[in-house]
Symmetry: none
Subunit: 416 residues, 2 copies
């Protein structure tokens, strides 16, 4: 018993997009313990789609389709599947209702072409799409063969998978032994150094421990094969505890934790508030903080002082210091932090000023040079110098700057 992933879309054959859907589904199948030996990509062409169905149906028992469920004429997946198995399409009233309601919610009128999305093979069940207009199907066209279809839009597909497909597959007896994993997240330490520190753990049989690096942080993934979440917790917890001890302050959280959510929890628990003053990040730090629902408990707002006139006018930065030290300097970073803290009446003021590039750098102040200011209780104010290196892209330097600012605040909150 095994599955095949079939991604339908000419844009994949043109190389317009990366096939992230195949990666997502492959990971998910692995977690459920469902074997999967083939992935196929085919264009929006009925004859070729049928040929792919014939091959896949001859070698696996679960066909998972993504793409080709849209309202346009080149979206052919569902009708081609029905056609292959010689089953008529029937219009589903519930889908029509759902689609028109979604259009109403967005203040738009459902177009006739959307009716096409309500046609599913006779006998197929709906695989509901909570966010988009294209539902999928769960269908047994013949004994021993199950077909699941998803739209190509990743965000829609992910929710449909976790909310409907996974429960269905488990009801079919899959996922008895599941791979549970927990990722510890580290900031301020490199992959190789961390790997050396935890080398004794990298060859464990169950749970396994593996390091991954990306987006400026390092993760240690602890993966346990177990029958249920309790059994997996018994395997993972002791190892996690030991790894956290080794990691110390560099380990900022696990799984869905972000630097912003961790900082937020610390501020909430201490009943403190935060404001930000941003130059080169232009709002990115505030966005990171407010990505967390409930951040209004501790984050009051800030000033985007992209232009020096705003640093002076709204933050009270000393114009002479701006001339003397430049906008990208420890002094200005500190004055920005003190300024925003005072004007928004918060416990903490956090600031960022730097050179995100690609232009604007020089020998003395290269692209990637960033100063972070942190004003805390009383008159206490600190600044931190970062040199991210001119080889990085503008967006990555901005991202790293915001993360580093959050990490500086995190460590200050923990060290007291």
């Amino acid at each position: 018993m095994s599955a095949e992933i079939i991604c339908v879309g000419t844009e994949l054959l043109l190389g317009d997009i990366l096939n992230s859907n195949a990666k997502f589904l492959a990971q998910q199948l692995a977690q459920l313990g469902i074997p999967h030996y083939y992935q196929t990509v085919v264009g929006d062409n009925p004859e070729r789609i049928k040929q792919v169905i014939e091959i896949a149906a001859s070698r696996v028992q679960i066909l998972i389709f993504t793409g080709g469920l849209g309202p346009t004429p080149d979206d052919l997946t569902c009708e081609t599947i029905a056609d292959f198995f010689g089953v008529p399409l029937v219009e589903n009233a519930a889908i029509i209702e759902d689609i028109s309601e979604k259009f109403t919610q967005r203040g738009r009128v459902m177009s006739p072409s959307n009716r096409k999305q309500a046609l599913i093979p006779q006998g197929a069940e709906i695989l509901p799409n909570p966010t988009g207009t294209a539902p999928g199907i769960i269908w047994q066209p013949r004994p021993g063969l199950t077909i699941l279809t998803f739209p190509g839009v990743p965000s829609e597909m992910h929710r449909m998978w976790s909310e409907t497909a996974v429960p269905f597959l488990k009801s079919q007896g899959w996922g008895k032994e599941i791979i549970y994993s927990r990722s510890l997240k580290f900031w301020g330490i490199g992959e190789s150094i961390l790997a050396e520190k935890v080398s004794a753990y990298l060859n464990l049989p169950n749970p396994t421990v593996a390091p991954y690096a990306g987006n400026g942080e390092v993760r240690l993934r602890i993966s346990a094969k177990a029958s249920d979440s309790t059994a997996s917790a018994d395997l993972i917890s002791p190892i996690e505890k030991q790894l956290r001890e080794i990691g110390g302050l560099d380990c900022y959280g696990a799984d869905d934790d972000t630097l912003a959510s961790v900082v937020g929890d610390l501020l909430r628990s201490s009943g403190e508030t935060l404001s930000v003053a941003e130059s080169c990040t232009g709002g990115g730090l505030g966005q990171m903080l407010t990505e967390i629902s409930g951040s209004s408990d501790y984050f009051l707002g800030g000033v985007i002082s992209y232009d020096n006139s705003v640093k002076v006018g709204l933050l009270g930065v000393n114009p002479e210091d701006l001339d003397k030290f430049g906008a990208v300097s420890a002094t200005v970073a500190e004055q920005m932090a003190v300024g925003v803290k005072g004007r928004l009446f918060t416990t903490w003021g956090l600031s960022i000023t730097g050179i995100a590039g690609p232009t604007g750098g020089n020998v003395a102040k290269p692209v990637g040079l960033v100063y972070i200011g942190l004003a805390g209780s009383g008159d206490e104010v600190k600044s931190y110098e970062c040199r991210f290196g001119a080889m990085w892209h503008r967006s990555f330097i901005r991202y790293m700057s915001a993360c580093q600012a959050l990490d500086n605040l995190r460590r200050s909150l923990l060290k007291r």
Copy 2:
């Protein structure tokens, strides 16, 4: 005459990595005008690899393999191909020499396992690997069938493709016609409605026109098959002109244009400046604007007024109106826009206040309700109500809000 991309590697079936090789090769084949209708991913398993070869060899004339050329026992691609066609592997002296030389250059000794990489099917030509130890092959196992193999390491594969495979394919008569394409980008119109408006263009032979939807916008991709860029421009330009006319203001740009870059160009050309006041987006609008290098020409900064105290204190929003209409209201949006424009002395002030969710919504003001304020020249101020729908995630509602604000400004700049 067409090609198939076959990616070999269990790491792809485990979902550990994105299949960027398939995307690269797909783009390259499209540019060379080599039709390619299928992509297959298979694990490091001889029997399944053979099955995939049998299927592919029966439907295409060029098989392009990536992966499975390494020195380890699970690298089986080359020997499995030879085995399938019943041809013996022969050790190639030139490859041995090349590999050992590369080891010497790195001050290392060639390990016995690397000798395996010097085995190629009898009669096959070497596809040299300038950077790595794993060479590929170019082989005609039988008339009318050509096989090319590449290692899975993208950087090695890219150089081997451009330095040897492309010249080889051109010598076979390919690449006389290349596919050039241009994507028109639309905001404020749904895929189905746009598709109906341009339906007459969706069945053109050359250039072709196809709609794609994602991230709240719709794109029309115009793809032309032509001998060179001039000829393709002659094909694309008139169609682009007509589609832009049909799209009207909904078409905001093409290819690398973003709403932020388009707004930026308009402001720069008119010598005007912009400031922002953000509540629910928390800095996301400012970040979008400053993602563009050179945005300091027109973007001065803004105020993140996440808490009402900041709306009053830094933006001068009337506290009584906050009580009367609520923070999420047209009145407050307008006062935020006027306030930030006045305090930062900009030509335009753009504001966002809304309910990003998942909490904080009610019947009167549901999640997804967003007000955008726009203060322009003189005392002119407008507000726009958006209802994105409560089914969306917080981050998407925030993203859509920032994009919509930019689009409102864009239309105001164009309509004068």
